[in-house]
Amino acid sequence: MSGCDACPSNPLRTGKLVAPARRTVAIVGPPNSGKSTLFNALTGLRQKVANFPGVTVEHRIGRAHLDGDQEVDLIDLPGVYSLSPISEDEQVTHDVLTGAMAGIGRPDAILLVIDSTNLARQFTLAAPVLSLGIPTMVLLNLADELRRRGGVLDTEALAQQIGAPVALVSAARGEGLEAVHEFLTGALAVPRPLELPVVQDLPCCREWAGRVGERASYRAPAPPMWTRRLDGLFLHPVGGPLTLAAMMVLVFQAIFSWAQPLIGAVQWAIESSGNWLGSALPDTALRSLLLEGIWGGVGTVLTFLPQILILFLFITILEDSGYMSRAALIADRTMAKVGLQGKSFIPLLSAHACAVPAILATRTIENRRDRIATILIMPFMTCSARLPVYTLVIAAFLPERPLIGPLLGTRAAALMGLYLLGYLAAFTTARLLKSSVLRSEPTPFVLELPPYRLPTLKTVLLTLWDRARVFLYRAGTIILLATIILWGLAHLPLQDGKAPPLEQSVAGTLGRTIEPLIEPLGFNWKIGVGLISSLAAREVIVSTLGTLYGIEGDPESEGLQAALQRELSLGGAVALLVFFAFAMQCMSTVATVRRETGGWRWPLYQFAYMSALAYFGALAANHLVRLVVG
């Protein structure tokens, strides 16, 4: 490496930040160095953050308000190890920094966020970033962790060497952000650089980073003890898989048992407000719309909010603690068997929340064929919109009995079975794809394992609050709209100025038209109407059935569960669950797949394949159950 000493210095074009109307400042840094956390701290926005590399895959713009009524537009970017992109998320960062991204000019300044607990490697990125010639401030993030583990660094000396302002910050705690504000207002003096290495040569940059760190008296922090101890458990040959299984059992049991009191409370609130409304309003069409349509439909969906929040509580803890990468590591061997790699497992896990962001998260997968295969199996992962359907049908047909003492009941076990069914479908499909149309050379699996961190109460609560808002927003928009349309279709055409019997309404006619097709699955025409409406969003089937049964019967005397027991045979109920496990009833997913694969070809194949699998799977389930139960 002697050639490195001969690296010609690359004088940095420095200068004050000129102040046009609004400057743009890009936040750049290696993956998982805390860029989005900083972005959130400066803009007050709530971009998703978690403790694993590759959380941010798109650029996001947010406004930061500075002193003296100044404003800057901050651009949060996906993490990069260098400025030579390999995957699509890295391409985004590259394009923004070079000014190639449509709609965004070259940024006026850069905030380079570096994990200070790992300077030698992370600082390597500083070389190519500084030589872009854009005014840059280096933020050494995670200063609190550096201190706690006994690491030190002379920021003055570092700033002197690289000719850019440097500050130790903790974005998560808001420490040291005053310096960032000063830099952004253009008040900080920018010292002259001494030397910068040739940018193309990675070993050169790396040696430069090591040297710069040494001269800044960098003492690396002690290795995180807790990470070593926890990995000893979570990656233990026996203890690791057992812990993973135990955690899954806990999640499913919690969804059924912990949520119960909360569900009861929500149900009570909806029922009593419905009763009050029913007695307060005159018997008009409006009263019927409110009670049968909105209270019976949207209200039913709302009762599932507690369960969804419990699911998200677990997902958030997994993502923020650093366990996510370990789960991917444990899954890598299974993934290798189906022709994918452990990296695909992280998006697949987050798809338990929703497939749409999970499909975006596949941008971190470098190999395009692996990426498409991962996208194509994504909707088989049980998303939170399936949860209301699953828990409704399970609770209606399966009595709760303890299986392993109080640890696992029959209902939680059934729910777990449905999740496993989703995995089975996903992995079989991946295997088929990877051994045929999407065959490719195996790509090397390289995954960084972040240190474990205790999720902060604030992030967890904010995430839950955000998820609750998303859920309520959906209930108030798409589900409400679908419910109102359905209520209308169930009351038209008017006969002698009055609503027709349900069977003769437009909705009824629609259901009866497809009834011959779905009868072999054990579904009647009302379930058929539910299936059609659930194309808008999966949980709409719950509101649809709530509305239909509300119109037909007296909703107070007969709950949705009792109505389902009357309408569906056991075979039909199992078939309904299987149908929902396999079908791709989600238009936003179809649209996202189209966008991410660049055309209609893949989403259309995917939709057809999943629909066929759902239909024939449900058919088989119905007949199998009938054969067994008689």
Binding site: L202, L235, L329, P444, E448
Partner: protein
Amino acid sequence: MLQVNFISHPKRRRRHGRSRHHLLSELPIGEEAIVERVELHGPAGRRLMELGFLPGNRVTASGRAPGGDPLIFGVDGALVALRRETAACLTVRRETPGSD
């Protein structure tokens, strides 16, 4: 050639143990070594280098996944997991020769 022998013939490995060159995939857990060569080209090789698997840099075998693969290495103060086959593309030099 020597490297293939390492994998398939444990006895011969002991004989060659005096040679200080090993495959990274063969580094016993807890041991440190210096990266010698990265025989992996294209984007994957570059990614490994970006993560610190650079000639002259120190790596530690810190553990493995429950199934024995992938392997976990400590490099530059961070943990990085590689599949065994990928780790076999790197040769390392042990600090204390012949200690296995």
